[in-house]
């Protein structure tokens, strides 16, 4: 591939997303009155799918893979396209496609939906850039490119107080954590004299007196990652933002944006601060991540168990899942052959999570579209009028809980097995306990949908509206969640290959 086409074509997944966003803006500027929600959604979905197709094609063709000449670096090594980047770009593009399709029905009566689509695609472009970033400077710029549209997206329903409040909270915490992250980067630069990951790594090996400065910098970078992945201690924006934001935005943030935080974490901490060198310098970030993972999964799951609103429950559950995925970093140990297995499992979990969690939030979007309430009680008996959508929701819930026969079981299983293989029995055990807790609150949704009777007979009349595009997105996510179980082999192979390139 790299022998035939110019190297910059390796960036085409990100470019396609960005160009689609620009194209939407152009149309909206030139003919502001002629815009139609349907054509906007269609163009965005096609852009996201084109990006996804190119990414999948690259993965199949082996672009950036060690067999075909290794990673493709551009711009003096500031950008690097490898299997890891492509794997995550596939997650971002899939989630974006699902979200824009669902948004078509969600924003059906919104006066200016074009802004939504272009903001979403710009954020997705930022994520795709994050995935290929090979320099701390690019990481920061791309991170801001994800964050700024996200703030606007959360506050997109500007006449809705909840949405605006959520946007403001998200913005404040985000600005703070950006500052912390940037300061961390500058400290690392001060200690190592470089921003390119590879050069940072070699400098970390001989830090001597500057180890303390680098150490503080690394801790601050951990903080920035914790914000983006909604992990403790920077998690508290998540329930507010996810609850207040329009549900498709919550889906986008909790699936794609979270995965973007993880791609940064995975790449920065394996390539810029390799565990062996960091330990030699007295910086044990794996321990820090182990503590963060343990606290995050426990807090997320236990807080989710006491929620009364489905959307807020899903928000806390997404914090819990961040804790599971952090095992991918926490359970690393120097020179262990199991490192790529556990990190690959974390990546596969994020992919599966991309479908099941997006699907669950899109079901909430459907409930908001119907105009029924937000609590578990409001969801009572929906299965009688909307059996297909409710079956899909049941699939998401059981899969999030990690029950067979759904893909969520497989990815969690691989994750915990990887942790055990690497000697982190306690993390796997804690994860298993948390999964049991999660079954309680996930099954509450299923119980409400299928077993409970609606509060009033007329409560189900709202369901006569059939939002086709939302249905399509939800059903597609459910089918993917089921089919990823038999089809888990290629996914985990690709994920482990991507992880292997990091060590």
């Amino acid at each position: 591939m790299s022998n035939v086409a110019p190297a910059w074509t390796a960036l085409s997944p990100a470019l396609l997303l960005g160009l689609t966003g620009l194209a939407l803006l152009v149309v909206d500027t030139i003919r502001p009155n002629a815009r139609s929600n349907t054509s906007m959604a269609l163009v965005s979905a096609l852009g996201a799918l084109a990006s996804l197709s190119v990414t999948v094609w690259f993965v199949v063709a082996g672009t950036g893979h060690a067999d075909t000449g290794g990673a493709i670096t551009l711009l003096d090594g500031a950008v690097k396209v490898d299997t890891l980047a492509l794997f995550f770009t596939a997650i971002f593009a899939s989630v974006t496609a699902l979200v824009v399709v669902a948004a078509h029905d969600y924003f059906h009566d919104h006066p200016n939906p074009a802004a939504f689509y272009s903001l979403t695609l710009f954020a997705a472009t930022g994520m795709a850039l994050l995935a290929v970033a090979n320099s701390l400077a690019v990481v920061f710029v791309a991170l801001e490119m994800v964050s700024l549209p996200s703030y606007a997206l959360v506050a997109f329903l500007k006449k809705n107080r909840g949405s605006v409040e959520a946007g403001l909270k998200y913005f404040l915490v985000g600005a703070l954590s950006s500052a912390v992250f940037l300061f961390g980067i500058s400290l690392v630069y001060a200690a190592t004299g470089s921003l390119i990951f590879g050069e940072v790594a070699s400098a970390v090996e001989s830090l001597d007196a500057l180890a303390g400065v680098a150490g503080i910098g690394i801790v601050m970078i951990v903080g920035g990652v914790a914000f983006k992945t909604a992990s403790v201690p920077f998690h508290f924006w998540a329930p507010e933002a996810y609850e207040g934001a329009p549900a498709p935005v919550s889906a986008f943030l909790s699936s794609a944006s979270k995965a973007a935080g993880f791609v940064v974490a995975f790449r920065v901490f394996t390539e810029a601060f390799p565990l062996g060198a960091s330990l030699a310098a007295g910086i044990d970030w794996a321990l820090a991540f182990a503590v963060v993972a343990a606290v995050t999964m426990t807090l997320g799951n236990f807080a989710a168990a006491v929620q009364e609103e489905v959307k807020r429950m899903l928000a806390y559950s997404s914090i819990g899942h961040a804790g599971y995925a952090l095992i991918g970093l926490a359970a690393l140990s120097t020179g262990s052959a199991g490192n790529e297995a556990v990190m690959g499992a974390a990546m596969a979990h994020l992919l599966v999570y991309g479908f099941m969690n997006t699907g669950a939030f899109l079901f909430v979007a459907m409930a908001e579209r119907w105009g029924i309430g937000r609590t578990f009680e409001d969801y009572a008996g929906l299965a009688r009028r909307a059996p297909v959508a409710c079956t899909a929701m049941a699939v998401f819930m059981f899969s999030l809980a990690g029950l067979p026969p759904f893909a969520g079981f497989f990815s969690k299983y691989f994750l915990f097995m990887g942790a055990i293989e690497n000697g982190f029995l306690w993390l796997a055990g804690l994860g298993a306990v948390n999964s049991v807790v999660s079954l309680y609150y996930y099954s509450r949704v299923v119980r409400a949908l299928f077993l409970d009777d609606p509060a009033t007979p007329s409560a189900l009349d709202a369901l006569d509206v059939r939002p086709t595009a939302l249905y399509a997105a939800v059903v597609f996510a459910a089918v993917a969640t089921v089919l990823l179980l038999p089809g888990f082999g290629p996914v985990i192979d690709a994920a482990e290959a991507a992880a292997a390139a990091l060590f």
Binding site: A341, M417, G418, A432, V436, F450, G489
Partner: protein
């Protein structure tokens, strides 16, 4: 490929029925469910397995495709049959069409979903009995719970939500315990296994492949794994004191679901005990023979006593299942040809008999809308055929010779009485036999009160004979019970062939 076709067809049938209109979902489901039954008969006719699938015997209809690899171990789609699993596959495909037929009268809402879930459950049950890879088996094992949860929770009695959630939580917690126990065992096997295939794990355990893992010595690891899996499966069976979910689930479940719950789902537990605990870890099983036999006898006697105290006909049958499963455990733990073989035979026999009892009680309930012993009397006057079959089934439960229950229990007692692996075997056997007396006591007394004497039941409508499609499955089941009682060898021969390697696997010190 034939097993894939069988399971795949059942899944497809479930999907088709789920999308069918409610009006003829029942008929469609019955027609489609006949196909797997015919298929299982074909399997039976072409069955050529020798020995036990786990201990190196020839596996019938073996088929294996690699799926994924985790931690250096391949996970495969690996299915096949031996003399222990084939009878259970036949039992499953036989009971499901009959259960679907018995649902025509009581199930009057959301039919397509009901029958779709029944077929979905059947597909997963077939997977449980055919899977020979631990991972694949576990996926099917857990997937059975999901349709069951909905079947109880949506179509059940007044306390259905409580019962469904109790069932779900109990069995899921048990599954997790079992899963953790077994996975630790496979970790401790280290490099001596390259896959999670059950035959390979069995072989590695028999060759002493266990290593020290996280500071746990091989002997202790085997014991911990045995206890964890035993407790996990004991909930499913269920064995006293893990039985409390069962009466709730049975009483609230609609009749056809009870039939499958008692007839097939409980057998998942005993099947797994046989496959995992008694085949893979025979030394631990025989070291714990006395406590296990004691639990078995307690299950027999205590279950029967509980049944004696019940007023609800369905609860009586439910508790007597606890009692009958105690016999199966006793048969397994004695490690003799007739003990293990008889236990497996009893699984099939009890599946048919308890299925018949639940179905017959259901038919009576359809007419009377009560199951309380004191509420009615003299039902024999109004529903002579149903009551006749119910009485015959009850005698089958008590172990009337020439019926399947007699053969199963007789094999177990013969095998248990002089068992060398179990100290004080005659005492345990004698105590367990005492259970039969109690069974006779409560069944005869309940029948006396409800079925015979002058008719008495307050209703504002006339009670007449049950419709044909209610009675037909009862008659078919009764016929099967008698056939199996007269000629137990049609299954027992292959069961014995598969059970012998299990018996030989244990090293008896006595």
């Amino acid at each position: 490929m034939i097993l894939e076709a069988l399971i795949g067809f059942t899944f497809l049938a479930a999907l088709v029925v789920m999308l069918a209109p409610n009006a003829w979902a029942g008929r469609l489901a019955f027609a489609l469910s006949a196909v797997p039954f015919v298929g299982s008969l074909y399997l039976w006719s072409r069955f050529d397995a020798v020995g036990n699938a786990l201990t190196g015997g020839t596996i019938a209809f073996e088929s294996r495709y690699e799926w994924v690899e985790v931690g250096g171990r391949t996970v495969s789609w690996f299915v096949g049959l031996d003399g222990i699993s084939l009878p259970l596959v036949v039992l499953t495909t036989f009971l499901v069409p009959l259960a679907i037929l018995s649902a025509w009268t009581p199930v009057d809402s959301r039919q397509s979903q009901f029958y779709g879930l029944m077929l979905f459950m059947e597909a997963n049950l077939l997977g449980v009995f055919t899977a020979l890879d631990f991972f694949l088996w576990f996926v099917f094992w857990e997937a059975v719970l999901v349709p069951m949860y909905f079947l109880i929770g949506i179509w059940g009695g007044p306390r259905r939500k409580y019962a469904a959630i109790k069932f779900f939580v109990y069995t899921n917690a048990a599954s997790l315990l079992m899963f953790i126990g077994f996975m630790s065992l496979t970790f401790a096997l280290g490099d001596s296994i390259g896959s999670l295939a059950l035959p390979e794990i069995t072989q590695a355990l028999a060759d002493g492949g266990l290593e020290t893992w996280f500071g746990i010595s091989p002997g202790r690891m085997a014991m911990v794994a045995f206890l964890a899996t035993f407790a996990g499966f004991a909930v499913k069976v269920p064995i006293v004191p893990f039985h409390t979910w069962l009466p709730d689930a049975h009483v609230e479940a609609p009749t056809p679901v009870s039939v499958l719950l008692a007839g097939v789902l409980l057998k998942m537990g005993t099947y797994a005990l046989l496959r995992f605990n008694f085949t893979m870890l025979p030394d631990q099983a025989s070291a714990l023979a006395i406590p296990i036999a004691a639990i078995a006898v307690i299950s027999v006697v205590y279950g029967a006593m509980l049944a004696l105290a019940q007023k609800d006909l369905k609860r009586i049958v439910a508790y007597s299942s606890v009692s009958s499963m105690g016999y199966v455990i006793l048969g397994l733990v004695v490690f003799t040809e007739y003990g293990v073989g008889g236990a497996t035979f009893q699984m099939v026999a009890h599946g048919l008999i308890s299925g018949l009892m639940f179905m017959a009680v259901g038919v009576v309930y359809n007419a009377t809308h009560t199951r309380m012993v004191g509420d009615m009397a003299g039902m024999a006057d109004r529903m002579p055929v149903t009551v006749g079959i119910l009485v015959a089934g009850a005698f089958g439960y008590m172990g009337l010779p020439l019926m399947a229950g007699f053969a199963g229990e007789f094999f177990i007692f013969v095998g248990a009485f002089g068992a060398p692996a179990l100290p004080y075997a005659p005492v345990f056997t004698a105590l367990a036999m005492f259970g039969i007396v109690i069974v006779a006591g409560y069944l005869l007394s309940a029948m006396q009160k409800t079925l015979f004497g002058p008719f008495r039941l307050e209703t504002d409508y006339e009670i007449g004979p049950a419709p044909f499609h209610d009675v037909a499955p009862l008659a078919v089941l009764l016929a099967a019970i008698i056939v199996l009682g007269v000629a137990p060898d049609i299954f027992f021969e292959m069961i014995r062939d598969a059970a012998m390697p299990v018996v030989e696997g244990v090293s008896v010190d006595v």
